[in-house]
């Protein structure tokens, strides 16, 4: 019943609008019949010119007001070294473009308002001016060159190879979760993997014939040390994903068949950020930024930044993947099995027992 009433109401409104339109149409027809083209440029012209000016002023005022009043709402705190740099570039570019944008917008609005049609006035025949055109080719070119070179320096630095001492961590993407693999507490090297070895348990596709893989451990949270260079090795098992840590200004696609990487230095621990934001529940988060299917929007991983000492403690407390899944020992070549058990941290007495089999 209510639907019917709403429907009728809508129809009624449409009919009324149509009638208004018809009447105003007839009135304007009667008017235009007696006027020339020149006079047809009527009061609506003044209204439109004024509206442009009003619109520009209101829009610019709201733009500046919102940008300053709500700065904290949209400004994402930064917690990485290169992030601070790219943020600076962002705000420099913002400064340059906002100045240009404001000037051009205002000039355009003023021109639109000021030079609206007046009866008897003739526009100025002004087809070109080479100096003017040259000026506004060269000036943007110079400004852009400056922006390009500052940007290039940052980009080259950010994408340069990581140092030897960098903490290497692998992040693996799949529909719809992230997992991290750490190089372990003994050899500190990531073991080899092969996607064909992936199964329900061996989700990394860990190649257990490689001795570096024995002590690798898995984590569902990404722990990184503060103040130390971290190199994320990124890969995907199925479709494209994109590793995105907003607070670190880190983003890199995860591509199946083509491992990628991104290096950064975190500058604030989770605790420090909690204090700074006055939010005891704050966590850094890792999101997916490349559409990857139904649950793309829920591919989340918590990122924890620790003080270096706390980070080492956390690492020591982790169990090797092989130790958690001793069934997989049989995939280790017999000759390496003992080394595997030692590396993975099996209890001493067990080591002898299994190796003897």
């Amino acid at each position: 019943m209510t639907n019917l009433i709403i429907g009728l109401g809508v129809v009624l409104i449409l009919i009324i609008l149509y009638l208004i339109f018809r009447v105003s149409n007839l009135v304007s027809l009667a008017k235009t019949r007696t006027t020339t083209t020149d006079e047809r440029v009527d009061s609506s012209n003044r209204a439109n010119g004024a509206l442009f000016l009003i619109f520009t002023i209101v829009a610019l005022v709201s733009f500046f007001w919102y940008s300053f009043a709500h700065f904290d709402d949209y400004n994402l705190p930064v917690a990485s070294e290169h992030g601070a740099w790219t943020d600076t570039l962002f705000w420099i570019t913002m400064g340059v473009t906002v100045v240009a944008f404001t000037i051009i917008s205002v000039v355009m609005a003023v021109f639109v308002y000021k030079f609206q049609h007046q009866k008897g006035r003739k526009a100025r025949f002004y087809p070109d001016n080479h100096y003017l055109e040259l000026a506004w080719t060269i000036i943007p070119a110079i400004v852009l060159t400056v922006l390009i070179f500052t940007g290039l320096r940052a980009w080259n630095e950010i994408t340069a190879p990581a140092s030897e001492e960098a903490e290497v961590i692998e992040v693996i993407a799949q529909q719809f979760a992230w997992t991290a693999r750490y190089p372990g507490n003994n050899d500190n090297k990531l073991g080899a993997y092969n996607y064909k070895l992936i199964d329900a348990v061996n989700e990394f596709g860990l190649d257990l014939t490689d001795k570096n893989s024995f002590d690798d451990f898995k984590s569902l949270e990404l722990h990184v040390p503060k103040g130390k260079e971290v190199l994320l090795k990124i890969r995907s098992k199925d479709v494209l994903h994109s590793l995105y840590i907003p607070h670190f200004r880190v983003k890199m696609d995860a591509v199946p068949g083509m491992p990628t990487q991104f290096k950064f230095v975190a500058t604030k621990t989770t605790e420090q950020m909690r204090d700074e934001l006055n939010n005891p529940n704050f966590n850094y988060e890792l999101a997916c930024a490349e559409v990857c299917g139904q649950a793309h929007f829920s591919m989340r991983m918590v990122v924890v930044v620790d003080e270096p000492a706390a980070y080492e403690r956390w690492k020591q407390g982790q169990e090797a993947w092989l130790k958690q899944n001793p069934d997989y020992l049989k995939k280790v070549p017999a000759a390496l099995r003992e080394a595997a058990m030692i590396s993975a941290g099996f209890e001493k007495e067990l080591v002898g027992g299994v190796a003897g089999n």
């Binding site: 010119g49 400004n75 922006l147 907003p246 068949g257 999101a287 930024a289 929007f297």
Partner: protein, 625 residues
């Protein structure tokens, strides 16, 4: 600068046209017509149909984003099973909506609807030709587009849903039906439709280029062509060079999907199974896609730039400022558009060195774009502006081109792009600079040339209302997205509530959705105005805007062959508005200099003696400063 044009005898058969009109039946006149004007209108109506569909899809997903807790049960009659039992939008269908919105708007509305309409309608009328070089190919071009439309439309209704991996259809997501249900039949139909669409674009493009180069009327040298034609010429060339690459990408994707090849697939473990594919590269697809995808942006925006240049000059009653600089910057943009594609791929894992090269080239493209903006603004300076609806939409387009273009300087900078890539900042950027700007160019063109298309005037007042709601609405929709993007919100998210980081901006998102609904509704004012005026609008004079270009020298409704009698000759450039000394504020291109001694510039007086020979095949040497 001196240009030499040699005009050779243009086909003798033209003179026949004054003796007979084609009297076809309904089918040959309106459906399988080879007349460029009818084909242009067919493109326009199909484009408008798609614009409504594409807009509607965006309203549905904006409902989800603006009102995440709303019960959408009332949409069940429309969407059926895509509304879950809890009355929510299905997350996978959300992605399908986003994908189809993008595909439809970019290709079907702003490529076919914009280029197809105005290239077909304006080229012969503005260069003084009876019709396109090949009417039959032109007809084929529309019907291939129509077929593509049918296939794409059908894909909206299949049970596994339409393609849903984003309009860029990156594999492996789009290649593996296991990855999402939209990658099954929906994706197949998407690829078939796009293949047909590309055929349509190529057939059209070849025709546009050939017509512009070969069929210009006597005196219509390249430097006397209206900017619309220049823009369409560049658009057609860019399309001709880039669409085949998309065709190749689509073909290889079809092979990967259906015939077990591994062009784009490698090392994949999905749905509990390791796939045998190896050696392919998903990044290769992105290179191929964006080799079209970026020029495509200019395919969309260049015609809009051409149309608005023409309309702004006409309604400012001033010559366009820097005619040659406008052509030069369009040429430069067209060339550069081929060497900037990888700026969409800074963080895809491609070699960072490539990133620096593409950043350099990308930011260079801002220079010709800036020149265009400055030239537009200078054209307004000391003009005598008449705000016809076409003029309003043109100024609106310049405004969007500025607002949206300027954020390109952020995104083209690879270091800054790391953070902004795939966030709402990008969404705001391209919706303003190419989406809304091109859309406004299209609307401006429709309002401006409607009198020539249908012989009647559209209602101006409704046009003003339509403009102001749409102009303010578009800004309210896309401007807030900059803030949401700077805050890091990723695009193509069904909801952000899983993340603390993205917990906020409910107010802005709601504002955006409400503005989107209002803007979309306002388009029905336009549709009403359009169809009502087509039949009931006041009859238009043959040159309602006092414009200089050739199309306004045709009868009120140009018939087959466009001009009764001989095709007019052209004696001057199209922008002699408010020339000092002239009695009117416009001098059409068909008026010889010999008739306007009071307003001729010195070098133009020299051209008079060339006019008097008046023979076809004359050599016209034009010297300007």
């Amino acid at each position: 600068m001196a240009t030499t044009d040699i005009h050779v005898q243009q086909g003798v058969h033209h003179d026949d046209h004054e003796h007979h009109e084609h009297h076809g039946n309904f089918w040959t006149t309106y459906i399988f017509s080879e007349d460029h004007k009818v084909i242009g209108k067919q493109f326009l109506l199909t484009g408008m149909f798609w614009a409504v569909i594409g807009g509607l899809l965006s309203i549905i997903f904006r409902l989800q984003l603006g009102f995440p807790n709303a019960n959408l049960e009332w949409l069940r009659p429309l969407l059926g099973g895509w509304i879950t039992d809890q009355g929510k939008l299905d997350p996978e269908f959300y992605l399908a909506l986003v994908t189809m919105h993008g595909t439809i708007m970019v290709f079907f509305v702003l490529t076919a609807g914009l280029s197809g309409t105005f290239a077909n309608f304006l080229i012969p009328l503005q260069i003084g030709a009876r019709d396109m070089a090949s009417g039959f190919m032109n007809m084929l071009s529309y019907w291939f587009f129509f077929l593509a439309s049918v296939v794409m439309f059908v894909s909206l209704f299949i049970s596994t849903g339409p393609a849903s991996g984003g309009w860029t259809v990156y594999p492996p997501l789009s290649a593996l039906p296991q990855a999402m249900s939209g990658s099954g039949l929906g994706m197949t139909l998407w690829l078939v439709s796009m293949a047909l669409f590309i055929v349509s674009t190529l057939l059209g493009g070849i025709n546009y280029i050939v017509t512009i180069v070969n069929l210009r009327t006597h005196g219509m040298s390249f430097t006397r062509m209206p900017l619309t034609i220049w823009a369409i010429l560049f658009t057609a060339i860019v399309g001709l060079l880039s669409f085949p690459v998309l065709f190749a990408a689509a073909l290889l994707l079809i092979f990967d999907r259906s015939f077990g090849t591994s062009f784009f697939l490698s090392d994949i473990y999905i749905a509990g199974q390791a796939l045998p594919n190896s050696g392919g590269s998903p990044v290769l697809f992105q290179h191929l896609f964006w080799f079209l995808g970026h020029p495509e942006v200019y395919i969309v925006i260049l015609p809009a730039l051409g149309i608005t240049s023409e309309i702004i000059a006409t309604n400012s009653r001033k010559p366009i400022f820097g005619y040659k600089a406008m052509i030069g910057s369009m040429l430069f943009i067209a060339i550069l558009s081929f060497v900037v594609w990888a700026h969409h791929m800074f963080v895809t894992g491609m070699n960072p060195f490539l990133g620096s090269i593409f950043m350099l080239l990308t930011l260079i493209i801002a220079v010709p774009s800036a020149v265009k903006i400055f030239n537009y603004v200078t054209t307004l300076w000391q003009g005598n502006l008449r705000f016809t609806p076409g003029m309003l939409f043109s100024i609106g387009m310049v405004s969007f081109f500025l607002t949206g273009g300027i954020t390109g300087i952020f995104l083209g900078n690879s270091a800054i792009d790391i953070q902004l890539h795939d966030t709402y900042f990008v969404v705001a950027h391209f919706h303003l600079v190419m989406g809304s700007a091109a859309f406004f160019g299209m609307l401006a063109g429709i309002y401006h040339w409607f009198p020539k298309m249908f012989g009647r005037m559209m209602n101006a007042k409704l046009g003003y209302i339509h403009f102001w709601i749409t102009f303010i609405g578009v800004y309210l929709v896309f401007f807030p997205m900059h803030y949401i993007g700077v805050a890091g919100f990723p695009r193509r998210y069904y909801s952000w509530t899983n993340f603390q980081t993205f917990d906020g901006f409910f107010d802005l998102n709601m504002l955006v959705s409400i503005a989107a609904i209002c803007t979309f509704s306002a388009q029905f004012l336009f549709l009403f105005n359009f169809f009502y005026s087509m039949f009931r609008g006041p009859k238009a004079p043959s040159n309602p805007w006092n414009s200089n270009t050739l199309e306004w020298t045709t009868p009120r409704v140009p018939g087959h062959g466009n001009w009764p009698g001989e095709i007019p000759s052209v004696y001057r450039w199209p922008y002699d508005y408010s020339k000092p000394g002239a009695k009117d504020d416009f001098i059409p291109q068909t008026v010889p200099f010999s008739e306007t001694p009071e307003s001729n510039l010195p070098h133009e007086n020299d051209l008079i003696k060339l006019e008097s020979t008046g023979t076809q095949g004359a050599v016209v040497v034009e010297k300007k400063d």
